[in-house]
């Protein structure tokens, strides 16, 4: 029987099997950041052991950094202490740190791929659930807790139960104005927030193959929002073209060998998955969430469901009460207070280009604040080179410095209570963007259109698609 992509990569990393069916799995790269690493470093110190393979660890500061005046000392005492602790730990243990002020600093899941650290066939972990992003390269990448961060620091391994495999095939062509963000929100709305739990997902099909690497990263990034440990996509020419020439990419003869190996990373025709789903890309419209988990999403022209249409009327009621919305309501035309463009889901250069192209020569609506937070210093720099910052600023968008920012509201970038924020991030949980904040997840183009219109609008109407009313 053939093997799945997941099995091919996983099997190459199994050190041994232990009682109870768990396996010791070797980890090729370990990304760390300031929030989920300090307790792990303490653990290593308390045990009196060093790091097993410090060269396999890469650090950055992203979750708890300000996105304004990064050249000045951090004002918040606790945040400063946390970021300084990361710096001290990296110095003490000799770990490469792309901290504040470094030209490579940025959101961990943005910098890994852009530096060419993320490569097909690897195992990658990080104390962050959106580590699944790196799966876009055909890597097994997933989020871990701090105890596991410590385990990897101590042994470069984890003790894991092999997840089940799922394949989601999306064939067909996305409509104009519909993006990979809409595609993944659509899938999550179909499978639910726990539909992928216990599984590792492979995304396949012609719609996936036609996507850029950055668009693929958006898909894999949100795998965790349906409960999956991770998502992956078989590497192809698009993948190799993206990696080639990046800082940590293999060079010369090594490159040829690498591509030869990477080209073997796909699911065999006779491979069997534990679960399979199929979707048609052409049926997907721009998506928006109405509730308080990422599974509560609808096509933008659809109505908020009613109690009789959902499996859990109590959850719907609780969510709509929090969101200030009604059952059966149409969202088109609803006034919005804030637009946030950023996060490890949608803060890459292509996202910024999509937004800039649309807002060029336009102005954001009076009733909206529009904030755009690039995913990394390199994205910020590229945006400047292309003149995007000027277009965005002229349109009334505030361009910030890199970090996780209002995706999780750990720093000062919070949405006030009761106000609506249309966001390109990944989670619309209660209070995620600040206590009482009301988040609606969308694609970067939908966010840009809403920033200009000041109200929920169908992006397709603005890119020359005639949408039947």
């Amino acid at each position: 029987m053939g093997k799945t992509l997941f099995e091919k990569v996983w099997n190459r990393h199994v050190v041994s099997e232990v009682d109870g069916g768990q396996e010791i799995v070797y980890i090729d790269r370990h990304f760390i950041h300031e929030v989920t690493s300090p307790q792990a470093f303490d653990g290593i110190r308390n045990r009196g052991i060093g790091l097993f393979r410090k060269d396999r660890i890469v650090a950055t500061a992203d979750h708890n950094v300000p996105t304004k005046d990064q050249h000045l000392p951090i004002k918040d005492f606790l945040s400063k202490h946390q970021v300084d602790t990361l710096t001290r730990n990296c110095e003490e243990f000799g770990i490469d740190l792309y901290g504040l002020g470094h030209p490579f600093q940025g959101i961990v899941h943005v910098i890994g791929p852009e530096l060419g650290i993320t490569k097909p066939g690897m195992t990658i972990v990080c104390g962050d659930s959106h580590t699944s992003t790196h799966g876009a390269f055909g890597t097994i990448a997933f989020g871990i807790g701090t105890s596991q961060v410590e385990q990897v620091m101590a042994t470069q391994c984890l003790l894991l139960q092999r997840p089940k495999t799922m394949r989601i095939t999306i064939d067909g062509t996305l409509q104009k104005g519909v993006f990979s963000k809409d595609l993944i929100l659509y899938i999550i709305s179909k499978l639910g927030t726990a539909g992928g739990t216990r599984y590792f997902v492979e995304y396949a099909g012609s719609a996936i193959r036609s996507l850029s690497m950055e668009a693929r990263m958006t898909i894999c990034n949100m795998s965790i929002e349906m409960g999956a440990r991770g998502g992956m996509i078989a590497p192809d020419e698009t993948t190799f073209d993206y990696i080639k020439g990046r800082k940590h990419a293999p060079k010369g003869e090594q490159w040829e060998k690498a591509v030869e190996y990477w080209s073997s990373l796909f699911s065999d025709e006779d491979a069997v998955f534990d679960a399979e789903f199929n979707f048609d890309a052409g049926e997907i419209e721009p998506m928006i969430t109405y509730g308080t988990n990422p599974g509560m999403g609808i096509g933008i022209t659809q109505k908020v469901p009613t109690s009789s249409q959902v499996a859990s009327p109590e959850s719907l009621k609780k969510s709509l009460e929090y969101m200030g919305l009604n059952e059966g309501e149409t969202l088109i035309g609803k006034s919005i207070d804030h637009v946030f463009i950023g996060s490890c889901t949608n803060s890459r250069i292509e996202d910024l280009r999509i937004v800039a192209e649309f807002v060029k020569g336009k102005k954001k609506a009076e009733n909206v604040t529009a904030m755009i937070v690039p995913g990394s210093k390199q994205v910020e720099e590229q945006a400047r080179k292309e003149g995007l910052h000027q277009i965005l600023e002229e349109a009334g968008f505030e361009l910030r410095e890199p970090g996780c920012s209002a995706c999780l509201g750990m720093n000062d970038d919070k949405i006030p209570k009761g106000e609506y924020c249309v966001s390109t991030s990944n989670r619309n949980f209660e209070g995620r963007q600040g206590p009482g904040a009301r988040t609606m997840l969308v694609s970067p183009l939908t966010a840009a259109v809403i920033a200009v219109e000041g109200k929920i609008s169908d992006a397709r109407n603005f890119v020359g698609v005639e949408v039947p009313a």
Binding site: S16, D19, I24, S147, N293, M410, G436
Partner: protein, 197 residues
């Protein structure tokens, strides 16, 4: 890690599905660099208003319910990988969480902190909610060696699953690092033949 054997306790029921780790501990309370003190902000925004006053209708503020077992509706612990969620529950005094489904990362984090996640059938969960609603003094009995959970002094009892290695760790208070450290020779041998591109 504290050992877990048999636990009999009254429960704190939260009949909400898909409780994510942002609810268990909001991100703005993740700035600490130690593992202690997170219990103070457990379920912060459900438990306190903006002024920090307890919200009387939330179960942790109710005089009716207390105990070291949290019972929650399906898909508990989804979302962020923050282990702070498990630390907050343990710091508050919980030793076990009962639900009909757990998110993967939370489940692993709980087991790594001596907090037992007990997955029961939806029907059994319904019975727990029913019994504890009628009688807040209702005890639950969790027996890890036998892998059983019972509604004390009733006929309701169920087996639960746990990985045999993880069970051994919970019973003895071992963590994975000790085990992995004991396998260093195997790991080094693996590295010698592991090619990375």
């Amino acid at each position: 890690m504290e050992k877990f054997g048999i636990l009999e306790s009254t429960v704190v029921p939260i009949k909400v599905k898909d409780i994510d780790t942002d609810q268990i501990i909001p991100a703005r309370f993740l700035k600490a660099t130690s593992r202690e003190g997170f219990g103070e902000n457990l379920f912060r925004d459900w438990r306190f208003d903006e002024q920090g006053n307890p919200k009387p209708d939330f179960v942790l503020n109710s005089a009716r319910y207390s105990g070291s077992i949290l019972v929650a509706d399906e898909n508990f612990g989804c979302g962020s990988s923050r282990e702070h969620a498990a630390w907050a529950l343990v710091d508050y005094g919980f030793r076990a969480v009962v639900s009909s489904y757990f998110a993967d990362i939370f489940k692993g984090n709980a087991l790594n902190n001596g907090l037992l996640p007990v997955q029961v059938s939806p029907e059994f969960l319904k019975e727990i909610f029913k019994h504890t609603e009628e009688n807040p003094q209702q005890y639950l009995l969790i027996n890890l060696p036998d892998q059983t959970i019972s509604i004390s002094e009733t006929e309701f009892s169920e087996q639960f699953e746990i990985n045999s290695y993880k069970k051994m760790c919970m019973l003895n208070g071992y963590d994975d690092i000790d085990f992995l450290l004991s396998k260093k020779a195997d790991i080094e041998a693996f590295e010698k033949q592991h090619i990375e591109f």
